[in-house]
Structure formats: structure tokens, C-alpha cells
Symmetry: C2
Subunit: 613 residues, 2 copies
């Protein structure tokens, strides 16, 4: 099945994205305008991104002491994407945006991620950056920085981590001090000078755009000159690579932001990744060191502003992992259909003089293909479902928005982590289907596997997602989101039972959900956060597989109904039933083993004497 | 704990390698001579291999049109290893060998694999090649080819796969025809001319040695000029890169073997991997095309000769995967002890003004370290156990040898595949412990992860191992080996029950073994090989985890006894108990889910309509 056919099925038949056009914000849209955006995205991704994905890897960014060099194809792809208006896909029409639902924007993005995740990252980060400024910046900040990002002139970054502080943002050391007299009256916002080091900055230095808008987390020292401890002291600043005037025009003055070095990565090499020095005096402004930055939002409110975007950023990471899974699946499927090797087991294959058969006929190759489909399509369902929640939260009526908001908080750690883990596994299976050829750089799959390995690390590691889920999300509002999710799951199970063939799956799903409930209760039995989250990773894995099983059963129910009604592409629907069945037979049963240490309160990880390691 | 301490514990206390010195073949050895070999190996690996592992990756082999270039450090390391006599570690003393037990040879090899798997491969392949010739070659072939391999002058390769035939060796197309008049009377053996292409040949072309001895599988055409179908028509040939005279002296004449290209791999880049053209006429011999080859063994007996070495080759692949797992574990443990980040969950960590703590204090980091230890140490136990069986098969009395031989056949697919899968996972966890740093090439762990990905592919893919285990090994001799293994497992469980704390583990192990039995019976219920192996991969995974749980329980029992007796290094023994407990709580319970489709006879993989994929 083509990816597009699956995407359309999920987006339109399952999530009923066209129903969104009934809402005022999307009233100008229709199924046709959605389709046009997807057509455009598919074509652009195919023409401008996919052909250069390998080059973006092999011609890794390099710094000649003056400039960072990227392949010309990267610039052209990023530019073409921007010129098509896609950076502003979700923005208001009056700001030049397409005013599309987020779920359609995510569907559009999926084509570019599948074609080249490393090239797409420039566009993705820039849109995220601009969206943050549109939400939290002043009108002048929007005009000066966000608008040129959205229209393609500028690009943007997110500067959170530091060499000594990755997951623990409370420990950042970058400091921002008011920039002398008049700093309060700058038209671009309260003006500061920043000093510090920012690590893992994707898109931090290049020549793809006229300017780079860094969004930087830093702390403003107190009267004693010391930085406030913890995350409450963090503020957010716009630090442009090139300074602009009050009207947002480039002044030609370089800001004091310098490249300290490039990170040379295992994968995702198309995206330049940097260590940046802010304010070390390499490019003094007005005769002195310190990077000029304009505060966004209130002092101490930086993390809240940044995390406003975090759910969407995490959904996008999950979607990226998913699309790498899809890319590998497509490659493996194609290879398995072409490559002859071996003969069937049993009497039919006993004559060695018969020609070898395509490897797709071997059961274990089918297993590997079905697994990839179940992971990649399950990940897509999860990502789009969450994207649809973003729309419901933003544009649904009060009840819909409240419920969607709660579910989104709950499901975001899963949407980020589940594809990162399992679509990585899908990429490993794609290599395996190729045999020795998959281990060479002559085939695409090894790059997908390397690229995907990042996704369990960035935007909150796997461990952080587990802590977030078990430590916060399932307990928020007295467990409201968890109850809402279980209600939806039970509704799916109820509808599935109307299809005889799906009844055992409905039972299995409810059994798994009951284990999740038991694990949640067991973890919090003593109301001790330090004990509750000791086994958070087993919880995340069990929870994640249960969530994806729920979505698979929901899809299978719809597929069964449509097959029954003779509606839709029968092969596409049969494929969904096959993947759903695979997931229930071979994946979901692992949940019990993963949740058992949580349910049993196993304390080995908490009490281990690490000297014995 | 140091690797050496663990190795000594497994080799001496657990497997009682010194007891082998009571056998005539090893009578000249003692615990001291074993220790001396390990000391030497540890030092050489540390001095000559480890410092160059990264270089062997970054300075990938390249071909300038004339020669293949490798780092000089690779040549020096390979040479130092040979000069220490280690290539002939297992050979007879009268041939210049050390006449060491195989289990000690494997222990020696483990240091080099951990230090640089890509450099070690030249030595490993050469020894395997020479061992085959010592077992199956004529005296003249041994003298001319094996002896210079063992003493360090030559290197060797194994040429099995072809571009169109990887797993299905019966489909090879390389042909060998008698080399005209007098070809029967050549002192080096029946002389043929070979033509064909051989793919994935490690060490196929380089300047590390005076000659390269290719062992090549090819078919001799019948009277009708056609190649015999299937594996029964395969013969084995020695095809040297440079021709030698009857006394084995280099003649200066190049044989007709030409490099067609290098394979550019994802990992394992220190080992040059080639496509070789045999007999295309690039280097005509006596004026005509055709690579000169000398047959080893009888015509049609090639695969048997090659597979004589296959058990050992597969154990070595598993050991290599294990040692990559160890290398990653050591790196991750070191990093986790040094790297400060975050604070404890709960009240103790609530003050952000306190300094961050080393990440080893976080439960999820401990989980990742324990998992790596359980995988790497479990893999080592498995590899050494099988190596010990090689010794028992070769030098035990008739009853011991017979039982060891049967067990070795059964366990070899597990010894090859289990570490390939789980120590790969260990390497992924090693990256995860490092966070973003683990994703850069500034740290060693990403290379281990890339290197290890090969091990599920070469020397029989993961799928082939599963077929071998369920399709052949558990049924051989009416299930004799399976019964022998279960008896040993039950003996371990019985002894474990003498330690109160281990009783639940003994129960869990026997439950898992019962599931393996049930799965075996279910698979073969209809005596239909085509049906039996449809779910072979789930079987392999369930069987593998049960085997490793058995070994962990055996080690835990010994550790408990020694702790009770106050003997040995308490931290080392406590570490084993911790890893064993981890394995039983978080790994073994998955077996049920993996075996369920086998037990239930799920037929989805067999009956799938692949058009729906």
C-alpha cells in the first residue's frame, strides 16, 4: 500500500479531519484544500528532499573556520518548502498563513520527514520557533523575527541544553543581564546581554538564511550576582545572529554569538548541530562582549513559554521517528518483493533445481514486514491522533477542548517515546530484510536506523518521558486524563465487540488496560514520588503498547466495518487488519512482563549498591 | 568489576578450566600457563588494539586502483597478535601451536574482540581458515598454506556467499573445472580453474600479509557442462592470491583473483570487506583466465568441510557480539559514575541549589547498566560454556564427548544469535546512558552499536539460526540434545533450591523450560517442517532467554555458595546476584509472550496475502 493511501485513510476516514471545516477557524477549508496541501507536500518531498537524503548524510556539515558548509541541495529544499508557504501552514491567514488544522499540518510534514528528516529539521525548528514567538512575543518581536521566519528569509533554533545541563535545565549557567541604560525601552523588548554556552543546537550556524533567530533559555542574576537555582529562575530571550533595527531590518551588525564547534553525530547528519558561545566577545556589539537578547514574556517565565511548544515538539519527534520507520518499511518491502533467495520449507521447496523465490515468501521475512507495518502505521495513528487533539484543544468547544487538553498531556510522552523505540526497531528489521546489503551504505536503510537513534535522546530522553508519564501525567487532576483515556479505550473495545473476529482483541485490550491501572495504583500506593517512579520505564513501555493496541483495534474496527460495507480499498483495509492482528498476537502480550515489576513494586533499581556493577 | 575478574571467575571457578589439564592433550598446561596467556592477551589488546579501534573505523579501507590501504596500526596489531603465537593457540605443540583448550583460546580472543573487533577479524578468520586446513587438508596443503597462516606470514578468508546467493549456498554459481593435463597429480592437491564472484569476503584484499589464502566454495560442472543443483554439488578449494610451488614457496606469480570492489559498511569498518572476481582473466595464469585452486577433501564434500568449522565460527560471532556489549557496558559505567546531572526524586532532591548527582544514582540509569551487565555477562557465560563443550567433545571420554557434541549442536544457534540481538541492545543502552554525547563520534559507544549490527547478519542470519534450532537441532536424534539440556537445567534448578533466596528463580526457570517443551511439541505436532518453523523466531527468542536464565541461575547458585563460604570477591559475586535477579525479574517473563504464537500454532505468517502489505 502507498503511504499516501494510508495517510488519507487515517486522516479522513478515521480522524475525520474534514469535520474540522465546520469550525470557524477552518471554515475556508475543505477536503479539497486539504488534499491540495498533501499533494503539494508529497510532490515537493519527492522532488526536492528524497533525492538528497543520502547526500545530506555523506556531505556532513563542515566548518572551514569562517563558514559552515552544507550541500546546495539542502538550501534548495529548505527554500522550496518555505516558498510553498508551508512554514506558516498553521498560522492565521491574516498573517499570511494557511490557517490549516494542526493535524493536516502534521500530515504535510510527514512527507518531508519520510523523504529526509535531516533536511526537514531546519524547517520544522523554524516553524516551532516562529509559533512560539507568535504566541508569546510582542507585536514588534513577531514582526521583526517570526514573520521573516515564516516567509522563508530567516531560520530559527531552540537553545536549551548546555554542556553540563541536558535533562536538568534548572542547572543552566547562561546568564542575562540588562543591557545598560535604555534597555527597558527597546522597541524589540527588554534588552539584555547574554553570556554562556549552549549545546546540541540544531541549525545553530549555517548560510541557509539571512538571519538565525536563536531562542535562548538563560537566567537573570539576582542582586547578589548569583543565578537563581532551579527552573523557576529561567527566562527566555530572542538572540538573533545578525542584529535588526526597530523595524526589523537587518543592520549588518553581527551579534556576539559564535560557533564553538560542530557536533559530529552518528546520524541525522543533514542537520548541522552546534555548540554555540554566547557573549564571549568574538563579535563585540557597541564595543563590548555580550550577546544582545530581547526577553520574551516575563522574567522567570521562560520555561513555561518554551514548554508551551513542547507537546507539539514532542509529537513531531515521534512523528519523525515514525516516518523513518515508514521509509525503512517501504524500502524493505520493495526489496523483499524483488530479491530471490531460497525456496519454501517443506515438499514444495525440496527441488534445488527450481529457481529461488522472492524472500517475501519466507515466513520470517513476512514477520519482519508485518512488524514494521504495525510499528510505523501504529506510530502514524498515534501521532495523528495526538495532532487531532491539538486541534480539539485549540478549536473545540469548551468540553471538547478540556478533554482534548487533558488527553494530550497524558499521551504526549507516549507519542514521543513509543515511535522512537519501536520505529527504531522497525529500521533494524529493515536492515535485516536486506541481509548483508542492508549493512552497506549502498542501501538507504542503514541511514534510517542511524538517524532514528537520536529520537530516544532529544526533546526529553526516554527516561524523562517515563518520569513525566508516571510521575506527573497519570496523576494530574486526580487521574482525570487516565480515566478519560480508559473510557475511550473501553468505547473502542465495545465497538470492536460488534465484529465477531475482533472480540478476542477487545478482551486482550481491556486486560492490558487493567494491568496499566493496577500498575498505576501500585506505583503510587505509598504516595512517595521517589518510590513511584523507580520502575517508570517498564510502565512507559507497557502503557505505550496498550495505547497503540487501542488505536490498532480502533482502526481494525473501522476496517472491518468498511469491508463489510464494501467501501474503500479492500487490500488497504485487509492490510490494517493483518497488522492489527500481528500487534495483538505478538506485541501486546509483552505488556504483562513489562508491567510486572511496577505492579510488584520491585525495588532493585532503588536499592542497588552500585559498587557491584 | 573488571572484565578480567569476571572472566577468571567464569573460566576457573564456574567452568573449572584447570580440570582440563588432567586430560592428556592439556597435560603440559596448568592454571599458571592459562593465566599467562590471558595476561599476554589482555596486555596486547590494551596496547596494540584498543588505541586504534576508532582509527580503524574512521580510516576506512580504500582502494586506489592498485592497492587496498589500511591504517598502519592495523598491520602492527595483527602482526603483534601473530608473533605472540596466538593464531596457533589451539594447534598441536608439534606444529608450533600452544595446544590450549578451546575455552582458553576463546577467553584470550575475548580481549581482542573487546579492544577492536574490526582489527581482530583478520586474525580470527585466518585461524579459522588454517584450522580447517589442518583438519581437512593434505600434509602438503597444511605445510604450504596453513602453517604460514598460523605463524603470521599469510592471512586467510572464507569465500562462501555470492551476490545472488547469501543464505542459500546451494545456488552458488562459481564453477571449478580440472586444470588440464596433470591436474590430478599436483602435489598441492587436485588442481582446478575457478570462475565466479564471491561477495562479503572479509580480508579479501589488503597488504597485511605475504599471501592471502582464500577458501572457496564452488561447483564442478557435470559432463553436460551444467552445475549440479543444491548443496550436494559444492566442493571446497584453496585459491591463494599468490601462487606457491610444490614446497609452498611463493613463486611471484599472481593468481587470477581480482578485487571487484570494496563494500562500504555501516560498521565493522576496520575489516576490509570485498567483492572478489575469480578467474575473469585480470591476472592470467599460464596465459589464460581462471583462478588456480586446489581441492580440499572429496568432490561434493565442500560444505561438510566448511561446516566442520561452523559451530566454532558461530560461537565466535556470538562472543564478538558479547565483547562489543562488554565494551559498551564498561564505557557506560564509567560515564555514569562521572557525569553529574539532576537530583534524586523525592524530598532529598528537592533543593535545586544542591549540586547535581552522578547519573548512576538515577534508577533508570541503574536499570540500563544492570541490563547491559546481564546481557554482556550472560553472553560471556554462554560463549564460554559452549567453548567448554568444544573441548569436551574433542578431548572428553566417549560419554562426555557424545553428550557435549549433542549439546553443542543444540546451543550453537543460541550462542550465535542471542548475544547478537541482546548485546546489540546493550550497546543501544550504552548510547542512552551517555545521552546526546553518546550520539556523537567523540564517544566510543556509537561505534560499538554500529559494529554489533553485523552480527545478526553474518555467519547465518538470525532467521537462519531460528530455522536451524527449531527445524533441526531440537529434533536431532529424537530430541536427545533437548532432553540433555533440560536435564542440566533441572539439575541447576535443583541445586539453586538449596539457596532459599534462589527458590523463586528456580521455579521460574522450570516454568520457562516447560513452555519451551510445549512450544517444541506444538511446532512439530503435525510433523510438517513447513508448518513447524513458521514461528521459528519467537521460538529462538524464548529458547534463548531460557538458556541464558539457566546459566544465570547456575552462576547465582555458585555466587551464593561462595558468599556463604566467605570465598572470593564479595562485590564481584554480589554483582552476579544482582544481574541474575535483574534477568529473572525483567527479562525472563517475556518468554511466555514470545512462545505463545508457537504454542498456539498461529498461522498468520504462513497464510498472509502479501499484497496487503
Amino acid at each position: 500500500m502507498t503511504f499516501r493511501a494510508t495517510l488519507d485513510l487515517l486522516l479522513l476516514d478515521w480522524l475525520q479531519a474534514d469535520a474540522l471545516t465546520a469550525r470557524p477557524r477552518f471554515a475556508e477549508h475543505s477536503a479539497d484544500t486539504f488534499a491540495a496541501v498533501l499533494d503539494l507536500s508529497e510532490r515537493l518531498a519527492q522532488d526536492k528532499f528524497a533525492p538528497h537524503n543520502r547526500r545530506a548524510d555523506t556531505e556532513e556539515p563542515h566548518f572551514d573556520g569562517e563558514r559552515v558548509h552544507l550541500p546546495e541541495a539542502t538550501r534548495e529544499a529548505v527554500q522550496a518548502h518555505a516558498e510553498a508557504g508551508l512554514r506558516a501552514a498553521g498560522q492565521d491567514a491574516e498573517c499570511g498563513g494557511m490557517q490549516l488544522p494542526y493535524v493536516v499540518e502534521a500530515a504535510s510534514r510527514s512527507f518531508f520527514m519520510k523523504a529526509s528528516i535531516g533536511i526537514d529539521a531546519y524547517a520544522m525548528l523554524t516553524t516551532a520557533n516562529a509559533n512560539l514567538l507568535m504566541a508569546h512575543g510582542t507585536p514588534a518581536q513577531r514582526t521583526a523575527f517570526a514573520v521573516p521566519e515564516l516567509d522563508g528569509r530567516y531560520t530559527g533554533t531552540m537553545c536549551l541544553s548546555e554542556p553540563q545541563a541536558g535533562s536538568s535545565l534548572g542547572d543552566i549557567l547562561t546568564r542575562a543581564v540588562p543591557d545598560g541604560a535604555g534597555s527597558d525601552a527597546d522597541p524589540l523588548g527588554p534588552r539584555y546581554r547574554l553570556q554562556g554556552h549552549k549545546m546540541w543546537i540544531s541549525g545553530g550556524e549555517h548560510e541557509l538564511s539571512d538571519n538565525i533567530v536563536h531562542l535562548v533559555l538563560a537566567k537573570v542574576p539576582g542582586a547578589d550576582g548569583r543565578l537563581p537555582p532551579g527552573v523557576k529562575g529561567i527566562s527566555l530571550f530572542i538572540v538573533p545572529r545578525w542584529l535588526v533595527d526597530a523595524d526589523g531590518r537587518l543592520t549588518g551588525t553581527r551579534n556576539d554569538v559564535a560557533l564553538a564547534g560542530l557536533n559530529h553525530k552518528l546520524g541525522y547528519r543533514g542537520t548541522v548541530n552546534t555548540l554555540l558561545n554566547f557573549g564571549e566577545g568574538r563579535y563585540p556589539v557597541a564595543g563590548r562582549a555580550g550577546a544582545v537578547g530581547y526577553r520574551v514574556g516575563a522574567e522567570g517565565d521562560g520555561l513555561r513559554c518554551m514548554f508551551h511548544m513542547m507537546n507539539e515538539a514532542r509529537i513531531q519527534v515521534g512523528l519523525g521517528a515514525t516516518m523513518l520507520g515508514w521509509a525503512g518499511y517501504e524500502a524493505a518491502l520493495d526489496y523483499a518483493r524483488q530479491r530471490p533467495q531460497g525456496r519454501p520449507a517443506g515438499p514444495a521447496g525440496r527441488d534445488p533445481a527450481t529457481p529461488p523465490r522472492p524472500i517475501i515468501e519466507h515466513p520470517d521475512v513476512r514477520r519482519m514486514l508485518l512488524a514494521q507495518k504495525a510499528y510505523a502505521e501504529g506510530g502514524l495513528a498515534l501521532g495523528l491522533y495526538c495532532a487531532r487533539l491539538v486541534d480539539d484543544k485549540a478549536t473545540g468547544d469548551a468540553a471538547v477542548a478540556s478533554e482534548a487538553g487533558a488527553l494530550l498531556e497524558l499521551l504526549t510522552p507516549v507519542a514521543k517515546s513509543w515511535p522512537s523505540e519501536w520505529c527504531q526497531e522497525a529500521n533494524s528489521l529493515a536492515i535485516q530484510v536486506h541481509g548483508g546489503y542492508g549493512y552497506t551504505r549502498d542501501f538507504a536503510v542503514e541511514q534510517y536506523w542511524r538517524d532514528n537513534r537520536l529520537n530516544m535522546i532529544h526533546e526529553g530522553t526516554h527516561g524523562i518521558q517515563a518520569q513525566d508519564l508516571l510521575g506527573r501525567k497519570v496523576r494530574a487532576e486526580g487521574g482525570r486524563a487516565l480515566a478519560l483515556w480508559q473510557a475511550r479505550l473501553q468505547d473502542t473495545a465495545r465497538r470492536a465487540r460488534a465484529v465477531v473476529a475482533l472480540q478476542p482483541m477487545a478482551d486482550a485490550l481491556e486486560d492490558a488496560a487493567a494491568l496499566v491501572t493496577a500498575a498505576t495504583q501500585a506505583a503510587w500506593r505509598g504516595d512517595r514520588p521517589d518510590v513511584a517512579t523507580h520502575n517508570a520505564m517498564g510502565y512507559l513501555r507497557g502503557f505505550g503498547h496498550t495505547v497503540v493496541a487501542w488505536l490498532w483495534l480502533d482502526l481494525a474496527t473501522l476496517a472491518s466495518q468498511r469491508l463489510e460495507a464494501g467501501a474503500g480499498d479492500a487490500q488497504l483495509l485487509q492490510g490494517q487488519l493483518a497488522a492489527a492482528r500481528y500487534f495483538f498476537v505478538r506485541e501486546l502480550p509483552q505488556v504483562g512482563a513489562w508491567l510486572a515489576p511496577v505492579i510488584d513494586g520491585d525495588d532493585q533499581l532503588a536499592t542497588l549498591d552500585t559498587d557491584v556493577l
